[in-house]
């Protein structure tokens, strides 16, 4: 007897195949995004095609509102939803190590446990190093602020390991996904694939509903989602840049934190932190109003957990910056470190992975696009 998740995946693939056959015979949505030109290259769809097309979809929703076969039509064609459901299975199937793919089943719970564990770890760690008195004291920047509580070495080691582990797991997922596309690895490392995919991802080209904005959260086209996603993503990137700059400062120049408010790492981190607060809040607000037809309800926990974690990372970071010379510093430092740790620990097993598979799908799209379209007689 097959495992339950295999059955679920087979059902989803079968439904996706039914829907894709309808879309391929219709083609009215061709101008909306990359998914339709990609599906039109095929006459039938195997499981690999289904994963590919599902991850090429940005869930903008425009095709659902334009669809003459959308529910309540008897064809019950809900393209965004079936692709969202398949993506959920993509994340589970290609997770590495494979056993941890199960974390996508109850992702909200998994993320909450990760946060709780990180909090316990961070407070325990700080308590062990600093002791209660020092933890609840105020430390001026001149006194070393964070480093009055926590030595740099162990902290860098913990986060270094968490970062490398996340990067390895994500890269493994990418590699497993890529292998199943059947495209050679070499094709990936070409300007066509890398520049094409990076360009599309960095601009969120396909979160635009074919030019007028996507029909999210409702039928009225809008660029709100793209803007909040940009805030979130570039906020994340700026925070990451802040960390990188600080690392260089520390090791290359021996300039130790805390850095002044107008220093490069703090400026980058502040801007990034604001993005990580405003972006996720905006995405959550849009999400709360979105058309349920666009969504896979089973993924709510995953979506919410990821957005909440990004928000908490940004918010605790900003709070730490604001109150770093007060008695609250110890608590805020522990909280912020816990959020960052939880973010990295859950990264390969949460919503973050959408970026990995979307990049792979976009790269494949750019590779395929160079090939001639199969010749069919004009209707």
């Amino acid at each position: 007897m097959p495992a339950p998740e295999t059955v679920a995946l087979q059902d989803l693939v079968a439904e996706a195949q039914r829907v894709l056959a309808i879309c391929n015979a219709c083609r009215y949505c061709e101008g909306y995004c990359a998914v339709f030109p990609a599906l039109e290259r095929r006459l039938s769809f195997d499981e690999g095609d289904v994963h590919y097309l599902a991850n090429l979809c940005h869930n903008c929703g425009s095709c659902l509102y334009a669809c003459q076969y959308a529910p309540p039509h008897e064809f019950q064609l809900d393209f965004p939803r079936i692709l969202a459901q398949v993506r959920g299975e993509t994340y589970r199937k290609y997770a590495w190590p494979a056993a941890l793919g199960a974390l996508f089943r109850r992702n909200g719970t998994a993320a909450a446990l990760a946060v709780a564990a990180s909090l316990v770890l961070a407070f325990a760690f700080l308590a062990a190093f600093a002791g209660e008195d020092r933890f609840f004291s105020a430390w001026s920047d001149a006194q070393g602020s964070f480093y009055a509580l926590l030595p740099h070495g162990p902290m860098a080691a913990i986060f270094g390991i968490a970062f490398v582990a996340a990067a390895v797991a994500l890269a493994a997922g990418f590699a497993r996904f890529w292998r199943d596309t059947g495209e050679p690895l070499g094709a990936l490392f070409t300007p066509v694939a890398t520049a094409g995919a990076a360009g599309d991802a960095l601009t969120l080209r396909y979160l635009d509903g074919g030019g007028e904005g996507c029909t999210y959260p409702d039928a009225k086209p809008s660029f709100a989602r793209r803007r909040f996603h940009h805030l979130t993503f570039y906020g994340f990137l700026l925070c990451f840049a802040a960390t990188c700059v600080a690392t260089v400062y520390h090791y290359a120049f021996g300039w130790e934190a805390p850095y002044a408010f107008l220093s490069l790492p703090v400026l980058l981190g502040t801007a990034g932190g604001i993005g990580l607060v405003v972006g996720p809040v905006g995405l959550l607000a849009l999400r709360a109003r979105r058309d349920p037809e666009l969504a896979d309800p089973a993924q709510s926990g995953m979506d919410l957990a990821f957005l909440a974690l990004l928000f908490l990372t940004g918010a605790t970071g900003l709070a730490l910056l604001a109150f770093r010379e007060t008695v609250a510093m110890g608590t805020l430092l522990a909280a912020h470190l816990a959020m960052v740790l939880a973010l990295f620990a859950t990264m390969p097993y949460g919503k973050f992975v959408h970026a990995v598979y979307r990049l792979a799908a976009l790269a494949r799209f750019h590779i395929e696009r160079r090939r001639p379209v199969p010749d069919v007689a004009a209707e």
Partner: protein
């Protein structure tokens, strides 16, 4: 529903909720009229058959994005003349044709977006402007534009009677949620489509064969407004057996299957009836002529069914249909799977194969692959059906539009049987398309007629109501 309870007399009452109705409502409102639009369908199925359209055949003297090259008025007119065999009103037809060039910017201004021709339709790149997302996206855009401009809309509202005497209509009686409402109007635009969803009426026109017809579009075009107008003395045009009818997959749903039900394999193989006999030259012409005639051809066969049969050579060489083909290793097996007489089908295929002359197959032009000494001949793209596996698609007539309608003048004013003009009734869209399409069909001309006469009807109705 609020607008139905409104005791006021509306300047313009629009009957119908598809492309022509929306164009009329938007133009009438822009001219300052108060407008109520009555749509029989609920929101998800609003828009009549416009929901299933995908392009508008558009005249243009030079490139007009996304259209390439030029498609001048004369060529458009010649194309129309060819498919209708002259059964058209030249004045009205040229109005519809010329109108299209002006419509594109107007449509864009009202939220419609265009895209390059779809995969598999490159041959239409010059003549037909495709809507991004298709007709439902267009309908959604027009409803949004109409509502934003202050047009009132009542859904699930069916017209059951017209208060009309001697060519003047003072209002309509409608049913909504089981309740009757009387609605007053200074002018009326009838844009409620044809009667293709009305199976009883189709049977009246076609006899028992109609029971085997599939309705490709909306189930809401019951022809009620058309019937009321004809009963109130409107002059009919075309006749009840004329319309746009294509051969579609016999496994399609009875209603609303839309574009995906088409089967484009006809010219690549042979088509037989239930006696396993061929009945027409499958290689006579390209789409769209082929597309437009095969519905009627199948309708004329016993049981109104045909079977498009191809072999492995042709698989994957046409637009993928939505239903999988019936597949078999031998012709006899294929016949059994289709419920045909295996010996008869083998004989037909053998006879066809023996008649195929050598040639160079090229599906993009009229090639020299043809049969000799076979009746009916296959004049192009004839290749032996000899490479297993063999595939078949069952075909039925798919009725798309009906052409029986009401006569109009150049201002979209409806004509009465005595030749006079109705005082305040205008007609637009499929309900008057028979003025221009006496028979035959030209892809994308329905939207041209609907947009031109919808806009004119809206403007004229507003002018009259506010005079």
């Amino acid at each position: 529903m609020a607008p139905l309870d409104d005791a006021r007399t509306w300047d313009v009452l629009v009957l119908g909720g598809g492309n022509a109705a929306l164009c009329a409502a938007i133009e009438a409102r822009a001219a300052g009229a108060s407008v109520l639009l009555l749509e029989a369908a609920p929101v998800p199925f609003r828009g009549g058959n416009s929901r299933h359209t995908r392009n508008m055949r558009t005249m243009h003297e030079g490139p007009l994005a996304p259209l390439t090259d030029a498609y001048p008025e004369e060529e458009y007119w010649e194309d129309l003349l060819k498919v209708t065999g002259g059964l058209t009103d030249e004045t009205l037809a040229r109005m519809a044709i010329r109108g299209t060039a002006e419509h594109v910017p107007w449509m864009i201004a009202h939220g419609v977006r265009f895209q390059p021709p779809l995969g598999g339709t490159l041959h239409l790149a010059r003549t037909n402007a495709f809507f991004l997302g298709g007709g439902k996206a267009l309908v959604n855009a027009y409803y949004a534009a109409a509502r934003a401009a202050g047009v009132e809309v009542a859904y699930e509202t069916e017209v059951v009677d017209l208060a009309m005497e001697e060519g003047r209509c003072t209002g309509a009686v409608v049913l909504h949620g089981g309740a009757r409402h009387e609605i007053g109007a200074h002018a009326v635009v009838a844009a409620a489509g044809g009667f293709e969803s009305n199976l009883a009426w189709l049977r009246e026109a076609w006899g028992p064969p109609a029971d085997n017809f599939i309705v490709r579009g909306t189930p809401y075009n019951m022809g009620k407004v058309l019937k009321l107008l004809l009963a109130k003395g409107a002059r009919p045009v075309s006749d009840a057996t004329q319309g746009h009818c294509v051969a579609i997959d016999a496994r399609s749903p009875r209603f609303d299957g839309g574009i995906v039900t088409r089967v484009d394999a006809v010219s690549l193989g042979i088509v037989v009836n239930r006696e396993s006999k061929r009945f027409y030259d499958e290689g006579e012409d390209f789409w769209p002529k082929r597309y437009a005639i095969w519905g009627r051809l199948v309708a004329a066969q016993p049981g109104q069914i045909g079977y498009s049969i191809i072999d492995a050579k042709s698989m994957g060489k046409f637009m993928p249909p939505v239903f999988p083909p019936v597949k078999a290793a031998t012709i006899a097996e294929l016949a059994r799977a289709l419920g045909l007489d295996p010996a008869a089908l083998e004989a037909t295929v053998a006879e066809f194969n023996a008649a195929v002359r050598p040639g160079t197959f090229d599906h993009t032009r009229f090639d020299d692959c043809r049969t000799e000494g076979l009746a009916p001949a296959k004049t192009h793209w004839a290749r032996r059906i000899d490479t297993p596996p063999f595939f078949a698609y069952p075909l039925r007539p798919g009725i798309t539009f009906t052409y029986l309608g009401v006569a109009v003048d150049e201002k979209a004013r409806m004509r009465m049987t005595d030749g006079s003009l109705a005082r305040n009734v205008f007609a637009a869209g499929e309900i008057m398309a028979g003025n221009i399409l006496g028979k035959g069909y030209l892809a994308g001309i329905g939207m041209a007629i609907g947009t031109t006469f919808g806009r004119i009807a809206g403007e004229e109705a507003a002018r009259l109501a506010r005079a």
